[in-house]
């Protein structure tokens, strides 16, 4: 027995929970690889997107080879093509393929949520771990796709050693924020089983405001301001803009990283809040 008779066991220790979540992530990563053939098509879709975006940017760019962005900075065509390439690949990696952002809606529909609730770890972290595993499974394919994407679009070395390390640092909250957003949005399915429309809107909004199609620096300023207020840009635009040195100087770089981390904390709280409501619905109303 895991505990002496008559004594209620304690919660799992932090270490035990870490092992549980790592196991969950690993399992979901392996489950994804059951659909290897699907990844081939998804990679083709990604390369096509990069190719078409690069085609358009080459066509619309001024002959001088540079275009003015917000704040008077000049963006060269080479930088723009590199942005389109990296942003597409990163966003592809962080945005799961299915119609729903996570497996949660399916689990709610099938009632497997009952199984998840009878585990000794919290539902939200289980789902974050599962989603992490799904992203992890796509990572090797993103790495493999990158050279081809560079051929279809463009590439640039990081603006400086500082830019490279800022990018590496910013990837952590970028990934966390993408996972949190996916979990939060898919919890809509606790209120309505017909959430497909919501997920489609989320997909378009997230894709656009993440800067996966157009960098924030070329958006009309009011739209860029709006994008700055939303969490989506922290998943794609911020890291790539740091890498390319578009965000530079100690102050702006630290601010960008702080905004990312602030969103991580905020999204965590939002997830907990939404989950508390969803759980209330499940356990109280038997939804």
């Amino acid at each position: 027995m895991t505990s002496p008779r008559g004594l209620a066991p304690p919660r799992l220790t932090l270490r035990q929970r870490a092992v549980a979540h790592a196991g969950t992530a690993g399992l979901h990563a392996r489950a994804q690889l059951a659909y290897r053939a699907d990844f081939v098509f998804r990679v083709l879709w990604l390369l096509l997107q990069v190719y078409l975006l690069a085609l358009v940017w080459r066509a619309v760019y001024p002959e001088s080879g540079t275009a003015p962005a917000h704040g008077g900075q000049q963006v060269t065509l080479a930088t723009q093509l590199a942005y389109v390439t990296y942003a597409s690949v990163q966003n592809w990696l962080l945005t799961p393929a299915g119609l729903a952002p996570t497996p949660i809606p399916q689990r709610v529909r099938e009632g497997s949520i009952a199984v998840d609730l009878s585990r000794p770890v919290a539902f939200t972290t289980q789902m974050l771990a599962a989603q992490g595993g799904i992203v992890l499974a796509a990572a090797p394919f993103a790495v493999l796709a990158l050279p081809f994407a560079v051929v279809a679009g463009g590439a640039r070395a990081p603006a400086s050693a500082g830019a490279a390390s800022a990018y590496a640092l910013s990837l952590v909250p970028a990934v966390l924020n993408a996972l949190l957003l996916a979990v939060v949005v898919s919890m809509v399915s606790f209120w309505t089983l017909e959430a497909v429309g919501v997920f489609m809107i989320h997909r378009v909004v997230a894709h656009f405001f993440a800067g996966a199609l157009i960098p924030l620096w070329f958006m009309p300023s009011w739209l860029a301001d709006l994008a700055q207020l939303l969490p989506f840009q922290t998943t794609t635009y911020t890291p790539i803009a740091l890498y390319l040195g578009h965000i530079h100087g100690t102050g702006p770089v630290l601010t960008a990283l702080a905004v990312q981390c602030g969103w991580t904390a905020a999204l965590w709280l939002i997830m907990r809040l939404v989950w508390a409501r969803a759980l209330h619905r499940v356990v109280v109303q038997g939804g």
Partner: protein, 335 residues
């Protein structure tokens, strides 16, 4: 002697379900101005289980069985009443409670569909914080007992229902829980698969002392496994006690089936309390008699039959639980 491991007192659960608005844009209108109906699925259920008991929790569809199990496992929060399982209030301390219990929902699986069974069983060990060596030993033991070996490396989606259920049982028992909840574990299985699962359940109870709550529609499960049953209908307890005593109370009669020799006629028996059973579906040359063994000795009935008839076969039929339960529901429906 410690107190009961499961205590349920005045347990009630009301569901508030949204009603879909009919007509154009019904979905949208339901979403914007929802209307609800309330249904009392469990209505004042009380019982207590001692550690090591194996209890059948029975009732017709919609009686409130699954709702009770969901409250006992911490998935639902009661509307009223008290639940305490191994000293914990399940819904309030879900994560700690989860370490005490194993659950099998016959209609769904806790295994991961796309992966080999082995992977699911391995993850269970990590999810429940089971020490590695111990988990390996338990997995080996259950693999042998449930005959999982031949399909450990088969993806769960390719398993037959019987194989999947064995996998689910193993998964539920791998953390060695003190209490096991089984919600229709033999549903849709063939005779051999059922027997294997019953064996496993009985052994876990007897050898490991696991407390087991079994809900099922298969009364053979109950006759084979449970000494005690809790029978509910319409969210209330109808009967709580011994299976044997239930039969005595609701089906006191024994039946004697007499097969007459070719051409022999039936002349009746003159023993008080013995009557021909009108409900019996007798074949030609066959006669079924009904009597209460409390008032009439079996030997007297047989002697009386043999004295007046030429008989080729005699058999005494004990009442089955099936008939008993059927009778209880029917009586309740008529009341």
């Amino acid at each position: 002697m410690s107190g009961p491991i499961i205590e349920v007192e005045g347990l009630a659960k009301e569901y508030r379900r949204p009603v879909r608005v009919e007509g154009p844009l019904g979905g949208l209108r339901s979403l914007l101005s929802p209307r609800h109906v309330t249904k009392r699925a469990v209505d004042g259920v009380s019982f207590a289980l001692a550690e090591g008991e194996l209890v059948g929790y029975l009732g017709p569809n919609g009686a409130g069985k699954s709702t009770t199990i969901k409250m006992l496992t911490g998935i639902l929060r009661p509307t009223a009443g008290l639940v305490r399982v191994a000293g914990l209030v399940p819904w309030r301390e879900r994560e700690r409670h989860a370490r005490n219990i194993g659950v099998v929902f016959g209609q769904r699986t806790q295994l991961w569909w796309d992966l080999p069974l082995r992977d699911s069983l391995e993850l269970i060990g990590r999810l429940y914080g089971v020490e590695r060596a111990r988990h390996r030993a338990t997995t080996a033991r259950f693999t042998e007992l449930l005959g999982l070996g031949p399909f450990l490396d088969t993806p769960v989606r390719q398993l037959s229902l019987g194989q999947r259920m064995r996998g689910d049982l193993a998964a539920a028992m791998l953390p060695e829980p003190r209490i096991l909840f089984l919600d229709e574990p033999t549903i849709g299985l063939d005779v051999v698969a059922k027997e294997r699962i019953r064996d496993f359940i009985a052994t876990r109870n007897r050898r490991d002392g696991t407390t087991i709550v079994l809900t099922t529609h298969d009364l053979d499960d109950v006759e084979r496994l449970c000494r005690r049953i809790v029978l509910i209908d319409d969210g209330r307890v109808l009967y709580d006690g011994d299976v044997a005593r239930l039969k005595e109370r609701y089906a006191p009669h024994r039946r004697l089936v007499v097969q007459l020799a070719d051409g022999a006629g039936w002349h009746g028996v003159r023993v008080p309390g013995v009557a021909r059973d009108d409900e019996a579906d007798d074949a030609p040359g066959q006669v079924t008699l009904r009597f209460d063994p409390a008032g009439t000795r079996v030997a007297d009935v047989i002697t009386a039959v043999l004295a007046r008839h030429e008989v080729t076969d005699l058999s005494l039929v004990e009442p089955g639980l099936e008939g008993v339960v059927h009778r209880i529901y029917a009586a309740r429906g008529a009341a």
